[in-house]
Symmetry: C2
Amino acid sequence: MESIGQGRLVVLSGPAGSGKGRVLETLFSKRSDYKYSVSATTRSPRPGENDGVNYNFITRKEFENYIRNGQMLEYAEYCGNFYGTPKDFVEDEIKKGINVILEIEVIGAMQIRKKFPSAVLIFITPPDYKKLEERLRGRATESEEVIKGRLLRARDEIILASEYDYIITNHDNREDEAADDIIAAVRAHGLRACEHEDLNVKFFG
Amino acid sequence: MESIGQGRLVVLSGPAGSGKGRVLETLFSKRSDYKYSVSATTRSPRPGENDGVNYNFITRKEFENYIRNGQMLEYAEYCGNFYGTPKDFVEDEIKKGINVILEIEVIGAMQIRKKFPSAVLIFITPPDYKKLEERLRGRATESEEVIKGRLLRARDEIILASEYDYIITNHDNREDEAADDIIAAVRAHGLRACEHEDLNVKFFG
């Protein structure tokens, strides 16, 4: 049944404006059996970013070694930089019964689905287009061009939401509800009949 | 999406020895948005049984009228008596946002699956054969023959568990956990991506 132990690998995606960052904060404040997997990247830290918190900043050579040795669960290249999920942390935590959250985009999500069919794929969405636009414009610092780009990108991402297992709507100021949705989805995922195909055998040999 | 409103129709099955009665007691004590659907039957009340609590006791003529008028969600005949679920109560409660629990057997469960694809089908199982036997023998009042019959019947039921959406194991003295499993399954069922096929339309018309 479970290919990699007791905890679950949980993939979380969602467009800018979905508010997934605050949902995750709420989740981690509620539950100690959920942990965030910090991605590795070859890009340089931006001001304010900390190694091991925002990303594990590693060299291109190190990253390529990880890939070569099969130590990346998933990875992708954006704008000349690698981003990926080192395997060790994820596997160790899952063995301890921890549910590990990967906050990644759809390409990585599909890689995970293939390698770990037992992973739960969750997509967080804003309630509707109006709210999405409102949230993106609410970040007053950004130019119209950047906002338009984000809206287009959100569209591309939302079209792919149907590839996920669960779609959770994050309403304004209801992060708590969305966090509880994640908890319910992860719990219920392990109860699905298809994960208990050994039930007859367990009972009647 | 939801064919019959806001609440969910929840079908619950499980063999004698699964402890589903105590799980349901626990569930109803925790959550007021779950209600039990009382079945109708044409058999006579046994000593201690109350009309409207254990069953709605109705005449064969009344039952046949219900069937004829399409007022039974599901029904079956056992040992010359009809047992079934009147539609009205279920539909009224679901409209109010109540999750209605039908405690029925597999034949009725499959009828419900066909008529209401949005129903959640949950199977409660004891942890293993040893525990099942132990629980059945624990009811000291019953003859060896009755117990053997129950064990055989449990086997037939457990084989069909794979037809359900979720399989929940009810461990000794952990009814609370099994009740929380039901709550998580019902919540997560509505979050499945297949129930949000209108998401693109909602966002982009």
